[in-house]
Amino acid sequence: MEHHFDTELDVLKQKLLTMASHAETAVNRAVEALVTRNHDLAVRVKDDDTIIDQCEIEVDDLAIQLLAKAPLASDLRLVTVAMKISQNLERVGDEAAKIAKRARDLSREPPLKLNLELPQMAALALALLKAALDSFVNHDSAAARAIIPRDKEVDALNKKINGELTLHMMENRDSIPRCLNLITAARSLERIADHAKNVAEEVVYLNEALDIRHTGAKGQVTPVPAPGA
């Protein structure tokens, strides 16, 4: 006879994986719409964001019900991690919708004659998201840990692209609206990579029962000072 609670935890995992699949698809499509200047694809991403929002509600609702049953140890960590991952995935969906909106606007204007590393940045952000979600499915804490430092690569690309677009705007005033759209799209990609890193940190917590968030460059944690200190 199977343990009834395991069945319920499986339902939670499945809901989360469905949500992850929707979020990944949204980012894939948004990036494609941006890079290939596809107006219709961009509109579709925006419309599909409501599905991801609904997934967040369902995952959190189920998680609360499961918490009432007093799960312990790895079961407890799974339920709380599921709630955090669902929140990160919902934000990923929002960022994908933002990219799609910018892609839609950009597709209506002539393309800029700039060789930005935006496709590379997008590919990297996508790869980090996929790797984070795979590490959750595969209970692979090592793979999750490997994702975390790579977020800095995306940050670096964002800074570079920002610099190039700022320079271009100063020299070509009529390109300002298009450049601003691209800056926003790049910022959304940077946020998506951040969320991928957050998911990776939650996967480490789930598998190792270790909270590795906010540790400094040398791995140190800054203690919270007592009130009035």
Binding site: M1, E2, H4, Q65, A68, K69, A70
Partner: protein, 302 residues
């Protein structure tokens, strides 16, 4: 239920199901009706609102020697679901449970008023034998009580044999069926004639469940069935109850709220002899409507 029935072999489940379909619930308004109305308005979860009621309790009052323990309680027990009864000590939950299968008649100074119907039939009606009621509504107690002088198989079949069943094949079939349903068969199939008391605490409790199931009841009442058991045995009982509810209506009294949350579909909170709140288990344990319920569930009572 007619006067001559207690002398015949218990009717099969198919027969009693067919009969209850004919009679149907005769209560005009019930607590679960209002849940159904809420689900139409979109506030309750439709999938957890039952379509059939096994027991309907109206204005139940129980007193012992002038001391009123249960006051004007009305409650619906959904068929093929688990209803948990929770509340602090002395709130009347065990008294309520025992009223459901006329156990109070074994206590001389007990007085029971009100109406209880099993699939529409009044179980306290004048022409109804309590013994028949207790066959259709079985009970499992807090401290497991296998008959100490009997073997495992004798314990399982005692109800059938007392009702005049002597067909060896039928008894053997029911024994295996009941022990399988109680998730005990694999552990005892090679020593059915061993004394019942040679089993562990958790196994004895599952034996008592098998004994109750052997007479094919429609409802199973359980009074804190796992409170005397260790966590592993408790988990087995909980998993068992979740399996059993596919075929049986189960009412369980428990003081362990997480247990109620884990395995029940509906929860009733009793306090000082009154029903304070009744709703889906999810609602009671995530967002109870009454402050008293919230105080009890969060352990802030008194």
């Amino acid at each position: 239920m007619t006067p001559g029935e207690n002398k015949t072999v218990p009717e099969t489940r198919q027969e009693s199901r067919a009969k209850s379909r004919e009679l149907g619930p005769s209560v005009p308004h019930s607590t679960l009706d209002s849940l159904a109305r809420q689900s139409e308005a979109g506030t309750a979860r439709p999938s957890t609102v039952p379509t059939a009621l096994a027991l309907t309790v109206r204005n139940l009052s129980v007193s012992f020697g002038g001391n009123q323990v249960l006051k004007h309680t009305s409650l619906d027990i959904a068929a093929r679901a688990v209803t948990a009864i929770i509340g602090p000590s002395g709130c009347g939950k065990s008294t309520f449970l025992r009223a459901l299968n006329r156990m109070h008649e074994l206590t001389p100074e007990a007085r029971v008023e009100g109406e209880i119907r099993l699939f529409g039939e009044d179980i306290y009606a004048r022409n109804v034998e309590p013994v028949v009621v207790r066959r259709r509504i079985g009970m499992v107690f807090q401290k497991s009580n296998p008959f100490p002088t009997m073997s495992i198989v004798e314990n399982v079949t005692v109800g059938l044999r007392l009702n005049g069943v002597s067909n060896r094949r039928l008894l053997a079939e029911r024994t295996e069926q009941s022990l399988r349903m109680a998730a005990l068969w694999d552990e005892v199939k090679d020593r059915l004639h061993a004394p019942a008391v040679s089993l562990s605490g958790g196994q004895q409790q599952r034996l008592c469940i098998a004994r109750a199931l052997a007479v094919q009841p429609e409802v199973l009442l359980m009074d804190e069935p796992a409170s005397a058991l260790d966590p592993l045995a408790t988990a087995k009982i909980e998993d068992l109850i979740v399996e059993l509810k596919k075929d049986y209506t189960i009412v369980i009294v428990t003081h362990n709220m997480q247990q109620a949350a884990r395995m029940s579909d509906f929860t009733a909170f009793f306090y000082l002899g009154e029903l304070v709140e009744f709703d889906t288990t999810t609602k009671i344990f995530t967002s109870p409507a009454k402050k008293q319920t919230e105080d009890y569930v969060t352990g802030r009572f008194g």
